[in-house]
Symmetry: C2
């Protein structure tokens, strides 16, 4: 419905990409750095998060997001700085929210296996519930531009510390490598939305199965509770 006429292209003044040359990169998030445009902005973040989660970074266009939020594509840029910044912001906020939820879930528990179970339950819940901003955008790496990737990875490492601590406390048999153990566990949890099929088992049961598989006690001759 837009720009299709060649005749109107009258000596278009050459514009180079000088935007935001006044300090800050395209990854620096909000246009307005106060909370001003808050509510509408939140809606954009949630809509975008869902689309990114479903189709990946590259296959989700600014136009898709604008459509769903009921704006024209250009108008989005009143609220966001760039597609990249939008994605990074969603990603970081989702991880922050997830970190809080997981920490809260394990905090009252003392037994290491109980803590692992609680963390897994929480993560499965987070990944499978398309609620607000705790969304499965945790594993969209392949289609993301390289510069964005480094921003994502830094935040990722931060988040995974929680699990490093949990795994450290587990009384695992010596032959298990805790680093690999943590990586494998996180991979399953973080990609839950990709392998989970709404079916016979509840989310808690799924989490229970994961822990049942990952549960190995150092004391020889002991496996499950």
């Amino acid at each position: 419905m837009v720009a299709n006429s060649d005749e109107m292209r009258r000596a278009a003044p050459r514009r180079q990409r000088t935007a935001r040359e006044h300090g800050g990169t395209a990854l620096d998030a909000p246009t307005t750095d106060d909370g001003q445009a808050g509510e509408r902005r939140q809606e954009i973040l949630e809509v975008a998060a869902q689309l990114f989660a479903e189709h990946g970074y590259r296959s989700t266009s600014i136009r898709d997001i604008a459509d769903r939020v009921g704006m024209l594509p250009g108008s989005l840029y009143y609220h966001i700085r760039s597609k990249e910044a939008l994605f990074v912001e969603i990603h970081d906020k989702a991880l922050d929210a997830a970190a809080i939820r997981v920490r809260d879930a394990i905090e009252p528990l003392a037994d290491p296996w109980d803590r692992l179970l609680a963390a897994c339950e929480e993560m499965v819940e987070i990944q499978l519930n398309p609620g607000s901003l705790t969304l499965p955008i945790m594993n969209i790496f392949r289609s993301v531009p390289p510069e964005v990737k480094v921003a994502l990875l830094r935040k990722r490492d931060e988040f995974e510390t929680i699990f490093r601590l949990i795994v450290e406390d587990l009384p695992l048999p010596a032959e298990l490598d805790r680093s690999i153990y943590r990586i494998l566990l996180l991979r399953l949890l973080n990609t839950a939305d990709e392998w989970y099929h709404e079916g016979r088992l509840t989310r808690r049961e799924i989490a229970g199965q994961i822990v049942a598989i990952f549960r190995h006690d150092a004391a020889r001759g002991e496996t499950q509770a």
Copy 2:
């Protein structure tokens, strides 16, 4: 370096997408259905497989592939029918090759845990070795067009039968759900390239760790070998 001049757009004859209306869809693979253009075609498949594996479906352009293979973008279409067909063909061939390798690896073995270990070792090897066509394109779903996805899933199910049979023979404790067990295991194996970091452990050791985690014997009070 191409089409930039408006003046040359002289009453461009309207062409609609009538291509290949003579039977067959865009997913039907080769242009020449004999082996004619074989060698060059093989090169295209391998180059494309690597790029798809690295950047995903959407972020890999026909131009990227053509560049690497030393052709102009349009020339690719002498060898392939469409980007979609190319991807599906690579995917299916990779799965066929993987199926053969895994079957061959477990065939001489009788013990169910030995068979699982051999299958895991083979899968890790396949996913981590960017050799020819046995490549980690097994988990590019998010950025792929919906029609392509169904073609992929059918082939996927076929492949996963191998693991269904292996898991069926495992003397697992009753509380473990074999379906979930298989899904989780396959997820780790299929995405090995995403979580593996070249490091202290060899591929075989990685496979060993996976099996160590997934190994649970029904006989109470027994865990590892």
